[in-house]
Subunit: 278 residues, 6 copies
């Protein structure tokens, strides 16, 4: 619940540390200023509230004028927001606040690209647990802002029996039986299948969801026919902007894409001081 | 000093939370196993020690056999290391440990690509403060592993007078004078210059380093001639794998690249259980 | 993941604070001793490992000889375990360690009483979220040790639409539709129903579990007939050792009992020093 | 000083974790509501301020209308307070806030029962260190609210030489001498005595308080006569609502009761949403 | 209980921060070395264990050879201890470890000077609550090592009614009555008296200890006569090495000296590397 | 960034702990009062804001009337500030707040004495890393308030090659070369020299600053002549109020004095309640 505040503090600590040497030696305290946040490329905005929180941590009297909200598409060179504050705090918070905003908008913008690709197909795009350590909830939020769907948050809120579980347990059937006997009644079961035989075994075990792991699209199509609506079907592994449409065409229900969070590049956003009041 | 341990704990907390539902319901405690870590693409390894620490946090008796060390080039499909441990802990730690290793190796591998491009030119490639909040020291470490050079760690350990400082202070000369009067004697001064006029003003102010901000290569060349070794010259802004050679040819001493940390994609690395002992 | 260690530290801090005045003034350092842990009433043991951890926090060289393990039935006046350690640390840790052990064994023992009552009926006894703040995972562990089943851990790992949700959302149907559209595919849906009409509405909405909230047994029976295996049925509200058999007879699948955690009394367990070595 | 805030955060963290799945999927943000807190049995209120703090942590704009204050007797079915807030936050905070209020009111109500029993006798009812780890100060507060008296807070603010100290030190006299030589001049000394001989030894050692440990009432009476006002007399061990009057009749000054904190059952209190404003 | 570890971490963090720049750039990792700790003036040693802990935090394989223990008198130019370790860690830990040792030895040495002055008088020298914030328990430990006696640890473990309490409460008698009615039976009461009238009032109120606050020695003598062993007598306020003998001669039982902790100067102790092994 | 808040909390925790026993038993809640802060000796004020923060932590409605600000000279017996607040909180915060103010003012006042001595000489007085663990930034702040200059904050923001580095590295030249190759371009290099030979070696290595370590003034003069403005010269080691003028006369640029922080005595400042409103 409180991990975002902790991350902001951590980020300010690691950037400012003992003090902002340049600013404290060059700028007189008490000078007020306005700054504009400018999108330097087309993007989907994500993280505007955490961006503001960074400055609020430094100075409780900072004022914001937000021209857009999370999820909005913003054209290159548009102003995203305006901030008024002591110049000293504008300069101390600039980099940390932008680092949050650029990374989260990067994830939202990339997610939107995937969503746009499969528009018209009856399929949802999901994230994975391949997130930056410490950023799980923020990155999953950015995926949602971009139009994606969240898979489980962690190991604690979803049952997903993967290849390593199957190997260690001795087969899909055995693993599903043990899971069903031991998990709370509030959970469904998902199993990873690497070929049609495993798909069949999972199906016979009565699982609610089957993940097709690293299959080619031909094999996926076959799996979808075999499953025949008796379980939700998730495609996973090596899916990118080039091949996602082919995957969508196989008829799977869900497509999970690790790259949404582990390989999004940061959006280009900058902050310019536009006015100074002595 | 202790922030890496804190980040590992945070990462395990956000992934495992109340428990690893799947593993605890499917795998009997006490089963031992071996797992191999496999590079699924060519990469520069970074983060193998933090990878191991994740498992050590979960189980102090885990054993590692590392085939490579940070900074090594690893061919696709090679085994990076082998781990022996309770299977339950292999499965609980897998994702978090890989998330660290994939991200850091991604940064080191990208850095190496930049370094390789400018081989033969007398220029160094530097990182920036555009890092993932909470990851500053880890990401700067990965840049170094990849062969890059670290710029200042934060606002506390380097003087860099940027455009917003200049605007708020009323000119380069004034800013440099104030800095010199107020900073400890252990620091040099760097100033950002956006054109030749500012380069000249910075030079006359006697700064030790001049950053050429977002100049085109023609302008950079001119700046280098004007400065004529009287200050260290750093190029910054919009530099990528396509244009870095042109920048290097201008004769600058340092090239800083935000993309090293803010836009590296994760390397593909996986963990496979290869043996189980009842 | 790390909250139990934090709770032990908190407990030692609040009891020992600046120092154990009595022990440090009365007992010379360096004296070794043995102590026995004695059950002063019949009980189901729970928490023996956390009991030991308390002493290990104080002195890493403490040695334990455990005669029983969690889940074992122990007769009044039996020795549970023996500890060897500096006497100073035996005395400093005694109360905190016993406070953990007595409370957790109290919960396990009470849970076992409920389980024993409904032996022979095809029904499971569950805990609730009515736990002591800070103790959620420990108390749920004690319920499991006693033979009970855990309901969801918190608001994050289960969907349970309760009366207040229904009121605020405007009806069961509407709430279930919204939930289904928004939750990850890994979760089932449970709805609270206060009468047969609500049971029918829940059933038509296709929920996986229906909680009969504060119904009398006659109404429960009717609900079970109406549901007719189309959903899992949970009874909840005001269930105690006197009426649980009647509830079990109605044919419900699950019975949840808040008293397991919010009203168990501590077991009587004591520690006696039995040997001193100067 | 700050441990109550920490406990509230811990409690919200363990209940809400990554998010309140049900509420966030079912209730639209921005809807306001009123809720009533209803006592479902006769009780002594304790913890109304911490109850409110839980909601304030979630939403700084929540408003309370409290009809009673801590220490008040409340009749079954009376409204304790009313809350106005975003419905989302009413639902997120409900269980944690009630868990605090129910437990603390349970302790206060049980304490009052003990106090009422011994009304008319010149004796005080005290708590012990048999508290829930992490809850020491809260539970001692609830005892005070119920009319009880607090014994020492922990090992750091009172000298109590117990049986295990006496065994390890080699006798009461020796232990009292060592204590007197080593403790700050601000403390009195209390000694546990298990029979009349020990009472005499304690008395001759000049202690300020003698605790009669697990004596029957006949022995207690004798001890009171022997002590004859030369020390404060505390009865302890196995005292309950059935036998406390007999203990009071022996003429002891203080009666300490572990059950006040370790075995109070939670009071039944509930929260009902009574109004919704779109 | 755990605050000393926290202070060591805090101290290492504030000194080393992101890294020891000098050492990491100048010394190759893996070089081992020995260093000697040398007392550069006569002193009473205090803090040798915390000194060692600082290095153990940095490197668990450091080895110590201690020639003295806390409380020992050490001659100028004697070796206190020898350390063997990676040179990198010797250099990283040197300053922080010495800062602890120099400050604590400074307090112990100053305390010893006060003790030596009043040798032969039947009086004890006590510390006060005028300690460095964050260092209360360490500084009180150093006072004890130096031969002093600890007054209460804080506001929580002793009753001391001071001038401001008396003013706010309306007189000594009233304050003592209220205290007696409200405090646990484990505490004695001490009252501050600024003149003989207040001494008399305190005495009549039956307090166990009377503090003579900022009296001259003549007035103290009179107070001692008036009290005539009916209460313990503590002298306090403005006592230093020059006047402590005169105070001792007045016949008071206790003398408390703020300067022990708030104005001790650090002892001169240094660390010299005496051997390097490649 | 947030370490001062943490230190205040730590300080309040260690002083107040479970409660202020005296105040809570003697003073009725709700009584308001005014208190004056009085300088009991001539001093330079430092820490008035942290003094106020202590009370604000306890009671957000406290009001201050400050008659002086940090850096001001205050005459003995002058009022520094006035506080209005619940009397209970005045009494709970008094000691901790004064402990901060007295220590910091002590450092500022001592620093001012050193500064005054060398007035008229072209030399600056610097602090060192010989600070109280946990207090680095506060104590360096107090030095600045007193008119001193801050040396580096820690090992992370300045390069200072000391005797132990030189020994372990094998000579000044070698150490400087390695430093220059490895440190960020933003730093200058300082080297410690113990005699004229080392001064020459440092000079030839091209370092920016040379520290003359424990030289007598004759040797210092010689070193200043040898260096002849080619490097900044810092004198260090054993400098006190008696010899600082002689050191200044040698022509060094900087004089660093450990005693500023490790051996300042606390200023005498007290708090008197001057008005009570029932």
């Amino acid at each position: 619940m409180f991990e975002i505040d902790r991350l902001i503090r951590l980020a300010l600590d690691e950037d400012i540390g003992t003090s902002d040497l340049t600013t404290s030696s060059v700028i007189d305290p008490g000078i007020k200023g306005n700054a504009q946040i400018i999108a330097k490329e087309d993007l989907i905005l994500a993280g505007i509230d955490i961006f503001c929180s960074v400055f609020t941590f430094l100075n409780s009297e900072v004022k914001f004028n937000k021209f857009f909200k999370d999820g909005d598409f913003i054209n290159s060179n548009s102003a995203v927001a305006e901030i008024s504050c002591d110049v000293v705090d504008l300069l101390r918070g600039e980099r940390v606040a932008l680092n949050f905003l650029q990374r989260l908008s990067g994830i939202a913008s990339l997610t939107r690209k995937y969503i746009d690709r499969v528009k018209g197909y009856n399929v949802k795009v999901l994230d994975t647990r391949k997130t930056t350590p410490g950023w799980r909830s923020l990155e999953k939020y950015a995926v949602k802002v971009g139009g994606g769907i969240n898979h489980r948050s962690g190991l604690f809120d979803g049952i997903l029996i993967k290849d390593n579980h199957i190997k260690a347990c001795g087969g899909i059937r055995r693993a599903v039986e043990k899971a069903r006997a031991n998990i709370p009644h509030t959970f469904k079961i998902e199993v990873e299948a690497k070929d049609i035989d495993e798909v069949r075994e999972a199906l016979e075990s009565g699982v609610e969801t089957i993940m097709l792991d690293n299959m080619d699209t031909e094999e996926m199509e076959k799996a979808v026919r075999v499953i025949n609506k008796r379980a939700v079907v998730e495609a996973s592994g090596g899916i990118n902007l080039d091949n996602i449409v082919d995957v969508a065409k196989t008829g799977v229900d869900l497509i999970s894409v690790g790259a949404l969070t582990h390989s999004a590049r940061a959006c280009d956003i900058s902050m310019n001081i536009v006015g100074i009041k002595g």
